[in-house]
């Protein structure tokens, strides 16, 4: 089997897709603080993980999305000054909520998916605040500004369709409704 055959086999069976998503997500989580700090946008909740999670849910890769959510949450816990499990719990719980309500959502529509990404971010901030208040953790609740959350959610909602397009290309999907 030649190199071309290997590439065709990998592309047809989408063998690149999930390892690529895991690698990009992992790299993003590790470097996220650096990216936001060096570009002076620390106030913005620039989180690409929800975009990948919503995309995986949209293409009905629920199991893989749940695994990705949990492990990226764990990685974020490690590279943040919070208790281990905080973001793993948050991402998993939000994804469970999305899974439970997906029959009401038309995730093939890019606008619905982008809106879901924005809602995901808002839900994440709410969840973290609630968890830190309810559980007897030693940590204080970070000050969360409503306007910051809304602006972050809006910006991520705008960025999401662009990333969906690239993910569609990698996945080989052409029938998404890019309205």
């Amino acid at each position: 089997m030649g190199t071309k055959d290997y590439l065709r086999h990998w592309r047809e069976n989408r063998l690149f897709f999930h390892p690529s998503i895991w690698f990009v997500c992992g790299l993003f989580v590790v470097l996220r603080g650096n990216i936001t700090h060096l570009s002076g946008i620390e106030w913005l909740d620039f989180d690409l993980v929800p975009v990948f999670l919503v995309y995986l849910i949209a293409i009905e890769q629920d199991f893989k999305a749940l695994c990705l959510a949990f492990f990226m949450g764990l990685l974020m816990d490690m590279f943040s000054a919070c208790q281990l499990g905080l973001f793993a719990f948050t991402y998993s719980a939000i994804l469970l909520a999305i899974n439970s309500t997906r029959r009401f959502l038309d995730l093939a529509n890019v606008r619905t998916a982008a809106l879901l990404v924005a809602l995901f971010l808002v839900a994440k901030w709410c969840f973290v605040s609630i968890v830190l208040r309810i559980l007897p953790l030693t940590q204080s609740v970070p000050s969360i500004r409503f306007i910051t959350v809304m602006v972050s959610a809006f910006i991520m909602g705008v960025i999401a369709p662009i990333l969906f397009y690239f993910l569609d290309v990698v996945w080989g999907k052409e029938d998404r409704e890019h309205a």
């Binding site: 992992g26 790299l27 989580v29 590790v30 470097l31 996220r32 603080g33 650096n34 936001t36 700090h37 060096l38 002076g40 620390e42 913005l44 909740d45 620039f46 989180d47 629920d62 199991f63 749940l66 695994c67 959510a69 949990f70 949450g73 990685l75 974020m76 490690m78 590279f79 943040s80 000054a81 919070c82 208790q83 281990l84 499990g85 905080l86 973001f87 793993a88 719990f89 998993s92 719980a93 994804l95 469970l96 899974n99 439970s100 973290v128 968890v131 559980l135 007897p136 953790l137 030693t138 940590q139 204080s140 609740v141 970070p142 000050s143 969360i144």
Partner: protein, 280 residues
């Protein structure tokens, strides 16, 4: 097993949520200290941060040094370093002067001189965006341990909260979970500097009779056993003395400019920190 979860993905959600809750429960009272598994992940992932930051700094340096005002930049860097050293020296001298004036001749200043300072580079910033922490390129192998203070020439940066063999995580004084016992340098009034998660801190538990003014300097008190005495914490920016409150509300601008933080010094009072390795 995988096929079962793929058919019924909600189950894996419950499993993950359960595991996450167990992890959260186990970490209650332990702080954010890294466990052995986390140390392994940090060792693997931190080089990516180091590479990323290194690349950005190299590109910035090339631009700053070779394409843009070569001599002015070098002169500026040299003068800034000198100014930083003079500031640190000045802080120490003022502390010594005040101590002498109070006739505390028997005070043992040995502790101020036997501190070992380990230089470290900042290679990462907090991934969540909710908390204020940094990752530095020195760890257990360099003698760094949890709770060691971290400073730079401007003042107190924070303290070590997690350590892996080659890297360590520092909780910044601006994080809401940070508390440092402080003194008003001029009047010796006491308080606790607490982070607010923003660019400002609060100097809490300042009693009504405390003599404190705008632009007063806040320094570490040396109480609590973490930070040595006399390090700059910040400058008083605003004081509110409400009659309905027990204490004064004092806002403090941290001494350190965290937006430009690149190098820090890990302070070891026990002298276990190893000498910096010039190859790293």
């Amino acid at each position: 097993m995988t096929a079962f979860f793929e058919r019924k993905p909600k189950w894996i959600s419950y499993v993950f949520i359960f595991i996450a809750l167990i992890l959260l429960s186990l970490s209650i009272g332990r702080g954010a200290e890294w466990n052995p598994a986390e140390k392994v992940v940090a060792q693997i992932a931190a080089p990516f941060q180091r590479f990323f930051v290194g690349t950005i700094r190299t590109v910035r340096d090339i631009w700053g040094k070779y394409f843009f005002l070569v001599e002015t930049h070098q002169e500026n860097v040299r003068l800034r370093r000198k100014l930083d050293l003079l500031r640190l020296e000045n802080s120490r001298y003022q502390e010594l002067l005040l101590a002498n004036r109070r006739l505390q001749k028997l005070l043992n200043f040995q502790e101020n001189t036997d501190e070992l300072l380990l230089p470290a580079r900042v290679i990462g910033w907090d991934s969540s965006g909710l908390f204020k922490s940094i990752t530095i390129d020195k760890g257990e192998h360099d003698g760094v341990t949890v709770s060691m203070p971290v400073v730079n020439a401007e003042g107190v940066v924070g303290r070590i909260i997690s350590v892996s063999p080659g890297y360590a995580q520092v909780l910044l004084v601006t994080d809401r979970n940070s508390s440092v016992d402080g003194l008003v340098q001029r009047s010796r009034g006491r308080g606790i500097l607490k982070g607010r998660g923003s660019s400002e801190c609060l100097f809490e538990y300042v009693i009504k009779t405390c003599d404190i003014k705008d632009q007063d300097t806040i320094v570490t008190s040396g109480m609590g056993g973490v930070f040595p005495k006399g390090l700059y914490l910040g400058t008083v920016a605003q004081i509110e003395d409400s009659p309905n409150k027990l204490f004064k509300d004092v806002r403090v601008v941290p001494a350190v400019d965290f937006s430009k933080l690149e190098e820090v010094l890990v302070v070891s009072r026990s002298g276990v920190v190893s000498l910096p390795n010039p190859e790293r």
